[in-house]
């Protein structure tokens, strides 16, 4: 695989490593947040509804109680009794004892004349025939007014009821302290901004509103609230200031008053906001962790893959070399066989000539002479040379098959100096500084010592050759090292010679490959070394930088 392929691969892995956990993570966060927000809203709204309901009951109870009080007074005392100021005073005091909300108490005749009055103002004799509340109470028999200013120019509201005796009908009326009523309504407190108040049909405040809105002022915020509706209505709306509120409203008192409970949405959802912060924090931390993990894992995976790929290509490289060697072995066996037949013919011809010559000599046809000597010598040479060829083909055949090996325990601490001793003079002549580094804990190896010597001498000679190429007769460095390497022994031959070019490094183990001039190398050295090391169960490797030197390494299994 090329560099770019790894980059693309690692991007792919990275993308899936990030996407796969991020999608469920985001889903979980989003869904739980959504659920939380939903349940928070419904909780808030239901608590608003509950508060509205509570208030309605309280307010209605309050008003009913006031009505009952008046009813009681009207039933207990007659019109005549109550018109007596002293008794009225007495009755009023008793009422106030029962509820401080009562501000005053008055009795009116059918025509709306204020006949008797007990309270802080001087209202006796005033005529209310045209007053709104009077008209309403005559019509309905019982009436609770909106808040109004009236003669006294103070906001208040009244509760009035008609008492019908046998001979006449009269009206009893009490004024209710708006402040006290305010308290009852206002006491609902939810969060920081939760508040409750009452509006009349026209949108005027019947109680004060904490966030602004005095009695009888117009509520500019929630005009839409005044829609007629049954039961409790909830909605969300912005006020004039742009603040969003959650509303719960309910009509009271025969749909004349609207009880409003509201809370700023931001306040109601304060918990949601902190939850949001939490979610963002978790998302950032989680996301960061995922990305960091993805990077880490991707890096590890790709590194591992690269390592495996390299291992694989190294192995396949070795396989190719081994395969090529086997092929060459077979080919050379074939050659050897083919050469044997013509050799036999040459031998036969030689024998024939020899026989004929000796016969002719016996018969005196050939005289002993210098020429004759030469011919006979030449004939002997033919025999010698065909024998030699026969030897070569036999050797080739043997090489193609297996070599005789005698594995024995070899101690590199002793063995390496011996091998170096074989080339040290040659190295000295070329001015090469030869170093050897053998670690003390090096294990024994089980190999054929002469074969290992052959390999090492070959490597050392190659190194010396390369050094001379690069440096001439001074400045060469040659190092032979041996150390234990995880159940194996690593022997390395390092030189600072001319090195091997990248295109050549792939071919150096191939038979008949050489960079030496014709006649100086057969090109068989390294290929033979390679096959020897392989048969020993070892690994032969090379690293080189052209012009800087080369390192040949041999890994051999340690004994035991």
């Amino acid at each position: 695989m090329k560099q770019g392929d790894y980059k693309r691969l690692s991007l792919k892995i990275l993308a899936s490593m990030i996407l796969v956990p991020v999608v469920p993570f985001v889903l979980v966060v989003f869904v739980s947040f959504h659920h939380f927000a939903g349940s928070l809203q419904s909780t808030t709204i239901s608590s608003l509804i509950r508060i509205v309901d509570d208030h309605r009951r309280t307010i209605e109870l309050f008003l009913t109680e006031r009505k009952t009080d008046l009813q009681f007074v009207a039933d207990s005392f007659g019109f005549d009794d109550l018109t007596r100021p002293a008794l009225l005073q007495e009755v009023f005091r008793n009422l106030q004892k029962k509820s401080v909300a009562f501000v005053d108490l008055g009795i009116f005749d059918e025509s709306g004349v204020h006949i008797a009055y007990s309270g802080p103002y001087e209202l006796t004799g005033k005529v209310y025939r045209e007053a709104e509340w009077f008209k309403e109470v005559i019509k309905k028999g019982y009436y609770v007014s909106d808040v109004f200013l009236g003669y006294r120019q103070v906001p208040h509201f009244v509760v009035a009821l008609v008492k019908k005796d046998k001979d006449r009908a009269w009206v009893i009326r009490a004024t209710i302290d708006t402040l006290l009523f305010n308290d009852i309504v206002e006491k609902a407190r939810i969060g920081k901004t939760g508040e409750s108040y009452i509006l009349n049909k026209d949108g005027l405040f019947q109680t004060e509103r904490r966030s602004g809105g005095g009695l009888m002022e117009k509520d500019t915020d929630g005009m839409a609230n005044l829609l007629p509706h049954q039961g409790t209505r909830t909605f969300v709306e912005k006020d004039v200031a742009g603040e969003t509120y959650l509303y719960a409203t309910m009509w009271l008192k025969d749909n004349n008053w609207l009880l409003v409970v509201r809370q700023e949405k931001a306040d109601a959802f304060k918990a949601l906001r902190s939850a949001t912060y939490m979610v963002i924090l978790i998302s950032i931390l989680g996301g960061f962790t995922i990305v960091a993990m993805a990077f880490y894992m991707t890096n590890r995976i790709v590194t591992e893959m690269r390592r495996i790929d390299e291992e694989k290509s190294r192995l396949s490289q070795q396989l190719i070399v081994a395969g090529r060697l086997a092929e060459i072995g077979e080919m050379s066996a074939g050659f050897a066989h083919e050469i044997n037949n013509p050799l036999q013919i040459i031998r036969a011809e030689q024998t024939l000539i020899e026989t004929i010559v000796s016969e002719m000599k016996e018969q005196g046809e050939l005289k002993e002479s210098e020429e004759m000597e030469e011919i006979e010598d030449s004939l002997r040479q033919i025999r010698v040379q065909t024998d030699r060829c026969g030897g070569i083909t036999q050797a080739l055949l043997k090489f193609a098959r297996e070599k005789e090996t005698a594995p024995a325990a070899v101690d590199l601490k002793r063995f390496l100096p011996e091998v170096i001793g074989l080339v040290i003079r040659k190295a000295d002549v070329e001015g090469i500084d030869v170093q050897q580094v053998v670690s003390d804990d090096i294990p024994l190896i089980q190999v054929d010592a002469s074969q290992l010597q052959q390999v090492l001498v070959n490597l050392l000679n190659n190194a010396i050759y390369a050094i001379v190429e690069q440096h001439g007769a001074a400045g060469g460095k040659l190092e032979i090292s041996a150390k234990a390497a995880g159940g194996r022994v690593e022997i390395a031959v390092t030189d600072n010679g001319c090195g091997i070019s990248p295109e050549n490094i792939e071919k150096i183990f191939a038979p008949f490959f050489t960079t030496k001039p014709v006649g100086r190398g057969t090109g068989l050295g390294l290929s033979v070394c390679y096959s020897i090391i392989e048969k020993m169960g070892g690994i032969f490797g090379v690293q080189s930088e052209e012009g800087r030197g080369a390192t040949f390494t041999i890994h051999l299994p340690a004994e035991g």
């Binding site: 043997k398 098959r401 297996e402 005789e404 090996t405």
Partner: protein, 163 residues
């Protein structure tokens, strides 16, 4: 030793190799005696009824070739299969001439080895039969001819030959 099993003498100085081969052969119905030296192999062949010998060539002490010669000389019917890691034609020729049944080179497929050993055993059985027949023939001849002293001498000769 059981009668229906092939009695094999395994001669190899590589202990691990010998152990693993002997294990796989025992599974396949051989009685295996493992020996690591040629001298001991000759000794063992004298003391046990051996059918087939599986012989390594390169060993310390007495070489495989010599061992083969002695074994074939002392036991006419016994067959020897050579299994060597250092095979070459010269030794193959020599061994075959000396009377090795077959000449196998390591690494060798177990199937090939098994076939060779079984064939060698068949050959051994044939050899034994032939020798018995020959003995019988000779005995038939003498029983009607020579004097008692000669008969005794001849019998001794035949017995010696047939071994």
């Amino acid at each position: 030793m059981e009668k229906d099993k092939i009695n094999l003498l395994l001669v190899d100085d590589e202990e691990q190799f010998a152990q693993s081969i002997s294990k796989s052969l025992e599974i396949r119905g051989f009685n295996v005696i493992v020996i690591n030296r040629g001298e001991k192999a000759v000794e063992a062949a004298r003391n046990h009824p051996i059918d087939v010998v599986l012989l390594d060539l390169k060993m310390p002490g007495m070489s495989g070739e010599e061992t083969l010669k002695v074994l074939k000389k002392e036991h006419k019917s016994m067959e020897v299969v050579i299994l060597t890691g250092h095979g070459d034609i010269d030794s193959a020729i020599e061994c075959t001439k000396t009377g090795a049944y077959s000449y196998l080179q390591k690494p060798c497929e177990l199937d090939e080895l098994l076939e060779s050993l079984k064939n060698a055993y068949k050959e051994k059985v044939m050899n034994t039969k032939k020798i018995e027949e020959k003995k019988m023939n000779e005995m038939l001849k003498i029983s009607l001819s020579d004097k008692p002293r000669d008969i005794l001498r001849r019998l001794r000769e035949i017995d010696k030959e047939g071994k």
